[in-house]
């Protein structure tokens, strides 16, 4: 690796200021599992890594009647096994559990997982000067795109790699972003941006800003959620396609629905047409296959990834089916 300075910040102010002062060549580091890989790969040059591990409150999980607050430095392993999360926010626990391997989950954090860069093989290789790195070509447009996007992509066809983000989207989470002076928060759907909005980044963070925590509203008592992930091998794989579904059900009727898709779009992807279709339906009358088809109705597959359309439809059908029959 090229040399960099590693600095352990003790306060948000210090972290933020250091980052701003060294911009654009500074990065925040939490667990470091993604960022060290990028540096080693030669696609990221950084002068200073500002560690957030020492920030107070960053590793706390606070559960209350209002909901859940998870510090950005909480590890994926903890999220996967925390009783309150497993019981009340199962989609999140399942998404966290599905990430990589135990070794990665013991170190990787919530914040790091949300902010990780794409896994697109053109992006990850220094031998391709692609759009996301400031070049002029998307190498996935015409060929070599079996893992790429089928929804919401125009010029750049990455898929967002975070499992946790998809679950949080379905759970209506809020992301809290901090800098030296203040916090701001936004629905998680607004945290992520597609390449059309910002080609060079996947989220709204400005220099000096970092994710400090994520808040999830407490679901009502009739709510269930699930996260399903389709992979190419049984384990340790990014999603070919993944689905998070949260359904509130009362008196045999779906009263609220939120479906989110992963592995198929440059951002964790909401499908409001599905949410509206499901809301108000009697559980017994839900045609899960039709719901699945509806989820992918706007799909624009590339030369090698049309299988994702059918796969995603099936996954949505399966997830909804699982929840309504629980």
């Amino acid at each position: 690796m090229k040399p960099f300075k590693f600095e352990q910040a003790t306060t948000a102010v210090q972290a933020s200021q250091t980052h701003v002062d060294a911009a654009p060549n500074a990065r925040f580091i939490a667990g470091g599992t993604d960022i060290l890989g990028e540096i080693k790969e030669g696609i990221l040059e950084v002068n200073i890594l500002v560690s957030l591990a020492g920030l107070s409150g960053a590793s706390e999980i606070i559960s209350s009647d209002v909901g859940l607050e998870i510090g950005a430095l909480v590890t994926l392993a903890r999220i996967a096994s925390d009783q309150s999360i497993v019981e009340t926010y199962p989609a999140l626990a399942q998404a966290a559990e599905s990430v990589a391997t135990p070794q990665i989950r013991n170190v990787g954090t919530l914040g790091g997982n949300l902010c990780q860069r794409p896994r697109c093989w053109y992006y990850r290789s220094p031998l391709f000067d692609c759009l996301k790195k400031g070049g002029v070509t998307c190498f996935a447009s015409d060929e070599g795109n079996k893992y790429h996007a089928i929804l919401g992509a125009e010029n750049c066809h990455i898929v967002h790699p975070s499992d946790v983000a998809v679950a949080l989207l379905a759970l209506d989470a809020t992301v809290v972003v901090s800098n030296a002076s203040s916090d701001r928060q936004m629905p998680i759907g607004d945290f992520f941006v597609s390449p059309n909005v910002n080609m060079l980044a996947e989220n709204v963070l400005e220099p000096g800003e970092f994710v400090s925590k994520v808040k999830i509203p407490k679901p009502s008592s009739g709510t269930r959620s699930v996260y399903l992930k389709a992979k190419e091998r049984q384990a340790y794989d990014f999603a070919l396609s993944s689905v998070a579904v949260s359904l509130e059900m009362r008196d045999e009727t779906i009263t609220q629905a939120h479906v989110a898709l992963g592995g198929v779009a440059p951002v964790p992807y909401s499908v409001p047409q599905v949410d509206s279709e499901l809301t108000g339906q009697k559980i017994r009358e839900v045609d899960v296959q039709a719901i699945g088809q509806l989820a992918v109705k706007d799909a624009q597959p590339l030369s090698d990834n049309s299988y994702k359309v059918r796969l995603t439809a099936s996954m949505v059908a399966r997830a909804v089916s699982r929840l309504i029959s629980e």
Binding site: F139, G144, L311, S314, M315
Partner: protein, 753 residues
């Protein structure tokens, strides 16, 4: 029924304790005083002439101690088509220059300062394209190695097809598959005057010694290759430029140099299983009798030849020899492309060839209305071998990979494998219906034949040492398959002592005798036979020496765990230590050129898989797997089971998830990582049963035959055939990834509408 002291026992793996504690040293663990770290600069272009290289900045960086470029490298050849460094780069990743520096980060920094001027040349990345006459030329003389295919014939396929009632032909493809051994290859080189010592991952210290001697133009006697524990290779750690480059840097720097490849380099600049496209044509009678087999394989050797000729040959053996047939032909086209080079990955071309052959056998069975098992029981080659006339003169050793007929096998347990394997998986019964509507189950099989036996000339030395220890010395390298454990079992059994009493020294070109590569599943046969002979000789010598000491005839003496004793009067005895004290060290050497003049020594097997296909996600799960093998007498059951299970699991990757992907636009390998080249994990490991046929080979040491590679061969056809049985979709291109399965299901649905 013979009872053995140690043969047939699951003696614990001799080198496992130190591997369990982390004490086992691999090449990257070697530390020498003053050692430098080397790094290699690699071509970013698939085909280019190197016009100039400017190393001024790199060489002047503080801490950089040596640089080598193709313009100043010694002019030797690492292989016939591979100079130590060359002014032409032939694939993305090809070695261009190298540096040695005080540490790795410095070496990396130095690489980034090297300026290379390239002239890009036309390139080709696809083998089928490469053999067309208008393809860009990777080499003067054309892409097709040898200018023509390897053609092997027995009888006449024209005649064979004329006899057929029906003829079937299909084309199948298999991808390049990385060996991806967990240890990236590494080398350490150190000079002492004119003497070079090299520590490296290798499966043949003598072969490496010879290769380095030729490349560097240094007398063989001046080179010592010390084989370290190897983090596996499965055959893929054939010689590359690494050893020579490391040696040159060390010579220039005047200090030891270590180069460890990165994982990405191991993927790209290592060796992998050759990608193939195979067309098989078979003629059959309506009753299922095979009348003709003609297979044609196009195989991609990548930028360098490596062991390509051996692999293209191996790819044809199934077609030539597995089904009893008088009229067969194989045409193998080996072609260069501007992609990473293939090598000798476990079972070489046999898995590729058998995938095609055994898939077609199922297609034929179905068309004729015959059970696939019956088809094979009817047609498999038997003990008597293939019909035809023997061609090899009677007094010459037979090739274990013959084309000729009229030569019997030394043993052939294939039928037993077919019968017992099919019973174990309840072949006659269809799979249980799964509960979910989208899941489908099915069963499939594949059988195979594989050469073993004769490897290169092999020497084993045995010694009674001055302290009374018994030691076996062999140049053989244990590549993780267990020969370090099995060889002393053979020696101990022959000598008549306990397994633990035979010490072993292996893999040092200076102190251990000539051994061939641990390759082609030949270790057991060649070195095993040499070992048995050396033990027999040592036993005879010891008894000869003791006879006068105990004042009796040699025929009255026997060897025990402690020494030698009189058979009738066991109190008249002498210990090994006492023997050594009085007679001195005793050493014998047995050199054998293995092989048989009368029989072909081959291993056989049949694999059976039951799979479950999720027709919504395209995922395939192997529910259970039966691997039935004829490898003669099994010398160490636990090791053998581990070998078979490991080979099967490894090739589930080949079948379901692994492929090296090259971008045709620029020759870049897209997935040179463990994340993207998807090897099986613990979660992918299926329930498996291993069966060994009850065969004792008359030629092999204690009746053993090759086992290392055969498990790799039956997996792809068994699983592909099972998938067909489950969903009625025939997929002819590996790997059978979810996207392929889904696309084929979709296509079939489209066809049937």
């Amino acid at each position: 029924m013979t009872t053995f002291k140690t043969i047939g026992k699951s003696e614990p793996r001799r080198d496992l304790p130190e591997k369990l504690t982390g004490e086992a040293k691999y090449t990257a663990d070697v530390q020498l005083p003053g050692m430098l770290f080397g790094k290699i600069l690699r071509s970013p272009h698939p085909h280019a002439r190197i016009l100039s290289i400017n190393v001024d900045a790199a060489g002047s960086l503080p801490g950089v101690r040596a640089v080598v470029t193709p313009f100043d490298a010694p002019k030797g050849q690492v292989a016939p088509d591979m100079p130590i460094l060359d002014t032409e780069a032939r694939y993305v990743g090809d070695e261009v220059a190298a540096v040695a520096a005080d540490d790795e980060d410095l070496a990396e920094a130095a690489l980034s300062l090297i300026e290379v001027k390239y002239e890009q040349l036309p390139f080709v990345t696809d083998a089928v394209e490469a053999i067309k006459p208008d393809a860009p030329q990777t080499r003067p003389g054309g892409n097709l190695v040898g200018g023509k295919p390897l053609t092997l014939i027995r009888g006449s396929v024209e005649e064979g097809f004329a006899q057929a009632d029906r003829i079937f032909e299909e084309t199948y493809s298999t991808p390049a598959q990385a060996g991806a051994a967990l240890e990236p290859r590494a080398a350490v080189a150190s000079w002492d005057g004119d003497n070079l010592t090299v520590w490296k991952s290798t499966r043949g210290v003598h072969a490496d010694q010879l290769a380095l001697s030729l490349a560097l133009d240094v007398p063989r006697g001046n080179i010592r290759v010390m084989g370290q524990n190897m983090g596996a290779g499965y055959g893929t750690k054939d010689e590359t430029r690494l050893g020579a480059i490391t040696a040159v840097l060390a010579q220039r720097a005047g200090r030891p140099v270590k180069i460890e490849l990165t994982r990405q380099e191991e993927f790209v600049a290592g060796r992998h299983r050759h990608g193939t496209t195979t067309t098989v044509r078979m003629g059959v009678k309506n009753d299922g009798t095979v009348t003709a087999v003609h297979a044609t394989t196009i195989m991609d050797t990548g930028a360098y030849l490596s062991s390509g000729p051996g692999v293209i040959r191996r790819a044809g053996q199934g077609a030539l020899y597995l089904y009893r047939c008088a009229n067969v032909q194989y045409d193998g086209y080996l072609t260069y492309t501007n992609t990473p080079s293939g090598g000798s990955y476990r079972a070489l071309g046999a898995p590729q060839g058998h995938f095609a052959l055994e898939s077609l056998a199922d297609t034929i069975s179905e068309a004729l209305g015959i059970d696939p098992l019956e088809f094979r029981l009817k047609n498999h080659v038997g003990l008597e071998g293939q019909p035809g006339e023997r061609v090899t003169p009677a007094n010459e050793v037979l090739d274990t990979q013959p084309v000729e007929g009229g030569v019997p096998f030394s043993s052939n347990g294939l039928r037993e494998c077919l019968q017992r394997g099919s019973e174990a998986i309840d072949w006659g019964q269809p799979s249980e219906r799964p509960e979910s509507g989208n899941l489908r189950r099915g069963k499939g099989m594949g059988m195979f034949i594989y050469r073993g036996g004769a490897g290169g000339r092999s020497i084993a030395r045995m010694r009674l040492e001055s302290d009374g220890s018994l030691r076996l010395l062999t140049g053989l390298m244990d590549v993780g398959e267990g020969s370090l454990t099995v060889m002393p079992q053979i020696a101990a059994e022959e000598l008549g002592v306990g397994y633990g009493q035979v010490l072993v020294t292996f893999g040092d070109s200076e102190t251990t005798p000539e051994a061939p590569l641990t390759a082609g599943s030949t270790a057991t046969f060649s070195t095993g036979t040499a070992t048995k002979e050396a033990a027999r000789q040592l036993k005879a010598r010891i008894i000869e020496v003791v006879a006068p000491l105990l004042d009796t005839e040699p025929s009255n003496l026997q060897i025990t765990d402690d020494g030698v004793e009189h058979i009738q009067y066991p109190e008249r005895s002498v210990s090994f230590a006492q023997i050594a004290e009085s007679a001195g060290e005793i050493e014998v050497e047995a050199a054998i050129s293995p092989g048989s003049r009368d029989h072909v020594i081959n291993s056989f097997g049949a694999h059976f898989a039951e799979v479950e296909v999720d027709t919504d996600t395209g995922q395939v799960r192997v529910l259970r797997y039966i691997a039935a093998h004829d490898s003669g007498r099994i010398l160490n059951p636990k090791l053998a089971i581990n070998q078979v299970e490991g080979g099967v699991s490894q090739m589930l990757g080949f079948t379901l998830s692994e492929q090296m992907l090259t971008d045709p636009r620029n020759g870049v390998t897209l997935n040179a990582s463990f994340l993207e080249h998807k090897s099986p994990t613990l979660q992918d490991f299926p329930k498996m049963q291993v069966l060994f046929a009850d065969v004792v080979d008359p030629v092999g040491p204690f009746g053993a035959k090759a086992l290392g590679e055969p498990p790799s061969i039956g997996v792809a056809p068994a699983v592909a055939n099972a998938i067909y049985n489950a969903i009625g979709v025939r997929i002819r291109d590996l790997p059978l990834t979810p996207d392929r399965v889904l696309n084929e299901i979709e296509a079939q649905r489209g066809d049937s509408q």
